[in-house]
């Protein structure tokens, strides 16, 4: 979704009406994180490392959306893509950390 958001801004196709497509996955991820926290409490505090990595991914994606909402109003084209490169890279790195943690836990 972060890559799609970057492409939409760079191509000038992102509007305020497009934002729910990008914010809805964040809502779902936050709901999942809340449920995972509840399950952690029910399991005597055991929390798999992948959940911490997931929390970090959610935080990076949230930051990405803030940056995207700002950039879409200030820039376009390749300048917009360049402005979003760092937040996008942070999301991709966090996503990879989740995958690594899930593989270590044999969940992926």
């Amino acid at each position: 979704m972060a890559r799609k958001g970057t492409d939409l801004v760079a191509s000038g196709r992102l509007t305020a009406e497009s934002m729910p497509e990008l914010t809805y996955p964040l809502e779902r991820a936050e709901a999942f994180a809340r449920e995972a926290d509840q399950r952690t409490a029910q399991r005597n505090g055991f929390r798999p490392p992948s959940l911490d990595a997931f929390d970090d991914l959610v935080a990076r994606y949230r930051e990405f959306l803030v940056a995207l909402d700002r950039v879409r109003r200030e820039r376009s084209g390749e300048a917009a893509r360049a402005a979003l490169a760092q937040p996008l890279a942070a999301v991709e790195a966090a996503a990879e950390s989740v995958r690594v943690a899930l593989r270590a836990e044999r969940r992926l």
């Binding site: 196709r13 009406e17 497009s18 729910p20 497509e21 809805y24 809502e27 779902r28 709901a31």
Partner: protein, 150 residues
């Protein structure tokens, strides 16, 4: 809330007590634990029994039909209550004539439906490229599924 408090769900341990609800909705079950030696304990809660909605494509088409005849108020009935003002402005400032709304709002296909929302996509070809537009339905305050965004 429909009453659905079965007396038949009885077990000797909590793991043995279960009940399957016959229809979707919000239910207020009451669980009573009785010990041969001690007092009874009672707990209550809310159970949300979910069934995937099956009429969302129909609602989408009904919203389009209302727009096609220029009835914005009727179209807004299919929009989530909190989003109506925003969509009222959008519907009244569309650059296309409402009679030609089918050129802008096409058919939708389900992508994923669960308790949080029903995601659909609307495919539209523009300048030779196919674009996927996101259409999201959610359960509104009154429990009715309506369009949150598209």
């Amino acid at each position: 809330m429909p009453p659905d408090r079965p007396a038949a769900a009885v077990g000797r341990t909590p793991e043995n007590v279960s009940h399957t609800y016959a229809k979707p909705g919000l239910f207020p079950p009451i669980v009573t634990a009785r010990s041969p030696e001690g007092p009874t304990l009672t707990a209550s809660g809310i159970v949300d029994v979910f069934a995937p909605p099956t009429d969302l494509v129909h609602k989408w088409n009904a919203m389009k039909a209302a727009l096609r005849r220029g009835d914005v108020d009727a179209a807004l009935e299919f929009i989530r209550i909190d989003s109506r003002q925003r969509y009222r402005e959008m519907f009244t400032h569309l650059t296309v004539n409402l009679a030609q709304i089918d050129e802008v709002l096409l058919d939708i296909k389900p992508v994923r439906i669960d308790q949080m929302g029903a995601e659909f996509e609307m495919l539209r070809v523009e300048d030779g490229k196919t674009y996927s537009y996101f259409v999201l339905f959610v359960r509104d305050y009154d429990g009715i599924w309506r369009v949150k965004s598209f």
